[in-house]
């Protein structure tokens, strides 16, 4: 398959969800700021309803035949649909939190539109088969993200974070585009399936150099070490729901585009990327987990923890061509990661609103003072640490097995060591919440929408572990068809 089908290049049916979302954004962008103060939340409700529609439209596409549309630049496959649904879900939960988080903020009305814009970028990235499109959508995700990061202008940390993110992403973006240009110069095409047929004949060193430059851009989104340095500062400075969104949405998009690029454009381990990513996975998880050990801010700690988590998922990328467990494992893990990581961030958000700080010591006694957010945070942390019966444990089992099956016993053992280390810092957060008592009074409740999001995320974390089969099947379905687009 692959290559060009549909001479017309105008297969609009293939982007119905994207079009719906774009329409919604075009409606909300001008509408948001002009909504009267009392009705600001209308924007959020509209966005939520719109996302449900987008989700339904995307889900319908699971049954569509795998094919390339728009002159081979855009893929219609379950892999893309999986990530589209992922983006919609992440945005949905974050909207439930931003609805109350930004109340009273002068830019309250535009937050939903910006989140939808980032969501659109992620959806586009999931399906793009063309390097130019990929660059475009990466910019879309990044630009909307850093506006969101800096939207609380009175907060100095947030402004600094936004600026840092902007500088970093601009630099990395330029490097990435330079790499893409190199690839274009080598092969005369930007389309991934065509690259696959031309690259093997090209000089290895140049190909590799170009690829590494492109990797910088993808690595930024994924927070791959050494392109991760922006993440802790930005997550700490950003409004917490936005930090949660960044830790989930763009990361998933980055992984999607990384996997698609590697598997489609560099098939059969062209340039030995499998070994490269095995090492990168090892470095990323180790750096993330080691740096997380010394953090005193929960958000920074979660930032490093999410780098560690990405390290585990990168095993799925590295072993993609070597083990049938790898890609399904990564997709499964991503889904659970959405629940548990977003759950942790939103719980911290709920806590932060009362405690006005995200320092670990300030969490003392919260198990009693704010039972629901504390319980969800505890559950998500245990899930992140890989305890059964939460979903991450099934995902970890897959990835673990993938590393062993790929012949990288060292990587499996290293992952094991990392998982063991990670417990150490997750416990540092759990401990003050439950084992230290506080004499202060119980705190008032959490906004309903946020509480709904927290409970849903908690339930998702648990159910995905107790009944993982349906999920595993969906993930396997989504990953098997990724390979169908590879020219043989």
């Amino acid at each position: 398959m692959g290559g060009m089908q549909g001479e017309m290049g105008m297969e609009l049916w293939a982007i119905v969800p994207e079009l719906t979302l774009a329409g919604l954004i075009l409606l909300l962008l001008p509408l948001g700021p002009f909504l009267p103060e009392r009705h600001k939340r209308l924007a959020t409700w509209l966005a939520l309803v719109g996302l449900l529609v987008v989700a339904a439209e995307s889900a319908r596409m699971l049954t569509f035949a795998t094919q390339s549309v728009f002159l081979g630049t855009y893929a219609v496959d379950p892999f893309a649909v999986y990530f589209k649904l992922f983006a919609v879900a992440a945005t949905f939960f974050v909207l439930l939190a931003t609805q109350s988080h930004f109340r009273g903020n002068p830019y309250e009305g535009v937050v939903p539109a910006l989140l939808l814009l980032a969501c659109l970028g992620i959806m586009g990235l999931a399906a793009s088969q063309d390097l130019a499109l990929i660059a475009l959508f990466i910019q879309l995700v990044t630009v909307s993200s850093y506006i969101l990061v800096g939207i609380s202008r009175e907060n100095r940390l947030a402004t600094e974070a936004a600026f840092k993110m902007f500088l970093f992403s601009a630099t990395v973006g330029a490097v990435m585009i330079y790499g893409m240009v190199l690839l274009f110069g080598l092969t005369g095409t930007l389309r991934l399936p065509e690259l696959a047929s031309k690259l093997p004949a090209m000089p290895v060193v140049t190909t590799l150099a170009a690829f590494l430059l492109v990797l910088a851009g993808f690595g930024f989104e994924v927070t791959l070490v050494p392109f991760h340095t922006w993440a802790p500062d930005v997550y700490q400075g950003a409004p917490t729901p936005i930090a949660g969104f960044l830790s989930v949405g763009p990361k998933a998009a980055g992984l999607a585009v990384l996997l698609r690029t590697l598997v489609v454009a560099f098939p059969h381990n062209l340039g030995h990327w499998a070994e490269l990513f095995a090492v990168l996975a090892a470095v990323t998880m180790t750096v993330g987990n080691l740096f997380a050990l010394r953090q005193s801010s929960v958000k920074r700690l979660l930032a490093y923890s999410s780098i560690g988590q990405v390290g585990y998922m990168l095993i799925g990328v590295a072993a993609a061509e070597r083990s049938t467990l790898a890609v399904p494992g990564m997709l499964l893990y991503l889904a659970v990661y959405l629940f548990m990581n977003l759950g942790a961030f939103l719980a911290v958000d709920a806590i932060e609103r009362h405690v006005k700080s995200d320092e670990i010591q300030q969490l003392a006694g919260l198990g009693k003072r704010l039972p629901v957010p504390a319980a969800i945070l505890a559950l998500c942390l245990l899930a992140l640490a890989g305890f059964p019966p939460f979903g991450a444990f099934v995902g970890k089992t897959y990835l673990f097995g993938a590393a062993l099956a790929a012949g990288w016993a060292w990587l499996a053992v290293l992952m094991l060591v990392n998982v063991a280390i990670s417990l150490f810092y997750y416990v540092r957060v759990l401990e003050p919440m439950y084992l230290r008592s506080s004499t202060e009074k119980p705190l008032p409740g959490t906004p309903v929408a946020l509480r709904v999001a927290l409970v849903l995320l908690g339930v998702g974390t648990l159910v995905s572990g107790v009944f993982p089969q349906e999920w595993a099947l969906l993930a396997t379905h989504a990953s098997s068809l990724l390979a169908a687009l590879i020219p043989h």
Partner: protein, 496 residues
């Protein structure tokens, strides 16, 4: 039926959180665990004691794409441990009736732990086995950390990290078995039948190493034991009872159920160093126990001593060249020791807790003449200590004799080492008895309140079972042996 027994405690947990009345919580906890106990007794009654092989089998698809299923079944090896679990949990909750600090959470954690333990002892699927393993361990972190004594937070962390490393090592070995079996599966009988690592090879040795680290931390065996004294010292009384009585059994059971049948060749090859480690562990435990000033710590170290015998029994059972009779005796002794130790140490920790509650101290030097002050208590404590040092006609003796006989025929040096360990334990307990129970009663201890009926009811079943298991070991030894000899799960390697 098995599913009902396993998940009944979770229903109780749910009930705890649905009922807002504080008065009712202890009732819910005790009634739930009582029902579980009853259900397990019914299970035992329905169990075919003649055959002793795998029964109540149930297999439902769980994660077919990963080759994992919800596969349950119990045999002569697991049934006694299930009964031990339901009994000790019931007694612990009954004893904890008056828990004042966060009672709801306290009861809920024990019930969750019970589900984990029951699941662990009755699953035939290795992934599920690991899941239940962790479910049984995590609540204990909170029990120690939240309801423990002064240094509880550090002790809880140490416990958590140690056991986590152990369970991950087990997971790695399980995955190696999974990938080694074609088609990939987590089903224990299928893996044993496929014999991926049955012979001696480097991989098989590594798999064994993972199991030894994981289950060795749980037993615990020297030098992986250092979490245990702290965890025991800091845990609340009921926590110590469950920890020593049940959680330590995960290690022994894991070795017998999973490690021996799946990597018999490597186990046989490495049996000498493992047996040596076991002997060192037993002697070390006894020696260090003797030096303890804290009564609870002393009992904690005596556990290391007793679990050393378990490992020794397992190691002897693994020796492929030894006679089947010796191996069977050692293995069944190890399994029997798990039960005996669960009952005796459970009783001992209850007793120490009762004493500390009255006197406010566990320091041995502050305690003397307790027998004169509390005659009934003193008698029961003396009885439990005698049982623990292996007095004939009591449960521990029946276990140690089997291990000893098995070892004698295989490794004479190890038998001598074990004998030294037993002698040291005897000396240690006698000396402790003398210091705590005999001697002059200080005036402060003269007015100590006698045992309450609640406490007597807690201890009575344990005392009775210690005697019954000592006097009539026959039926249990029979089903344990049946489980050891027959079917795929028969752990005595037939030298293929």
């Amino acid at each position: 039926m098995l599913t009902l027994v396993i998940f009944l405690p979770l229903v109780g947990t749910l009930a705890l959180y649905l009922v807002p009345l504080r008065r009712v919580w202890p009732w819910i906890a005790v009634v739930t665990s009582g029902l579980v106990l009853l259900a397990s007794i019914v299970l035992a009654a329905l169990f075919n004691w003649q055959s002793g092989t795998l029964q109540f089998e149930q297999q439902v698809a769980w994660i077919p794409s990963l080759g994992a299923s919800y596969h349950l079944g119990i045999d002569g090896l697991s049934l006694p441990l299930i009964l031990l679990t339901t009994l000790l949990t019931f007694l612990a909750l009954w004893y904890a009736w008056k828990q004042e600090k966060y009672p709801r959470e306290y009861f809920a954690l024990y019930l969750v732990m019970e589900t984990g333990l029951l699941g662990f002892f009755s699953t035939m699927d290795l992934l599920l086995f690991y899941v239940f393993f962790e479910i049984a361990l995590v609540p204990m972190y909170f029990v120690i950390g939240l309801w423990g004594h002064e240094r509880r937070v550090e002790a809880a962390l140490k416990f958590f990290l140690y056991t986590r490393v152990g369970s991950l090592a087990v997971l790695l070995s399980i995955l190696a078995l999974y990938l080694g079996t074609n088609p990939h599966t987590f089903d224990l009988p299928a893996i044993i039948a496929a014999r991926p690592f049955a012979g001696m090879s480097v991989t098989a040795s590594l798999v064994l190493l993972g199991f030894l680290i994981g289950f060795g931390i749980k037993l615990p065996v020297f030098p992986l034991h250092s979490w245990l004294p702290d965890a025991h010292t800091e845990a609340p009384t009921e926590g110590s009872v469950i920890l020593a009585g049940l959680l330590l059994k995960l290690g022994g059971y894991g070795l017998l159920r999973v490690a021996l049948p799946t990597v018999p060749g490597a186990f046989s090859y490495w049996a000498v160093p493992i047996a040596a480690l076991a002997v060192v562990s037993a002697i070390y435990g006894a020696a260090v126990a003797m030096a303890q000033a804290d009564l609870k710590r002393l009992i904690a170290f005596s556990s290391i001593n007793h679990m050393g015998y378990v490992l020794l029994g397992v190691a002897v059972a693994a020796v492929a060249t030894a006679s089947t009779a010796d191996r069977a005796a050692a293995a069944s002794g190890a399994a029997y020791q798990l039960l005996a130790h669960g009952l005796i140490t459970g009783a001992l920790f209850f007793l120490v807790g009762m004493l500390a509650e009255r006197t406010g101290t566990r320091e041995i030097r502050h305690l003397s003449g307790i027998w004169a002050a509390l005659p009934l208590y003193g008698s029961i404590l003396a009885f439990a200590m005698f049982a623990s040092l292996g007095l004939p006609a009591l449960a521990d003796f029946a276990a140690e004799v089997q291990i000893m006989l098995g070892t004698l025929g295989v490794y004479r040096w190890a038998a001598v080492g074990m004998l030294i360990g037993i002698l040291m334990t005897t000396a240690m307990f006698l000396w402790t008895l003398q210091r705590v129970l005999l001697g002059k009663t200080p005036s402060a201890w003269e007015k100590l309140p006698q045992l309450t009926s609640r406490e007597i009811i807690t201890l009575l079943p344990l005392v009775a079972l210690i005697i019954v298991l000592g006097v009539f070991p026959g039926p249990l030894v029979h089903i344990i042996n049946a489980a050891l000899h027959s079917g795929l799960l028969g752990i005595l390697w037939r030298g293929w």
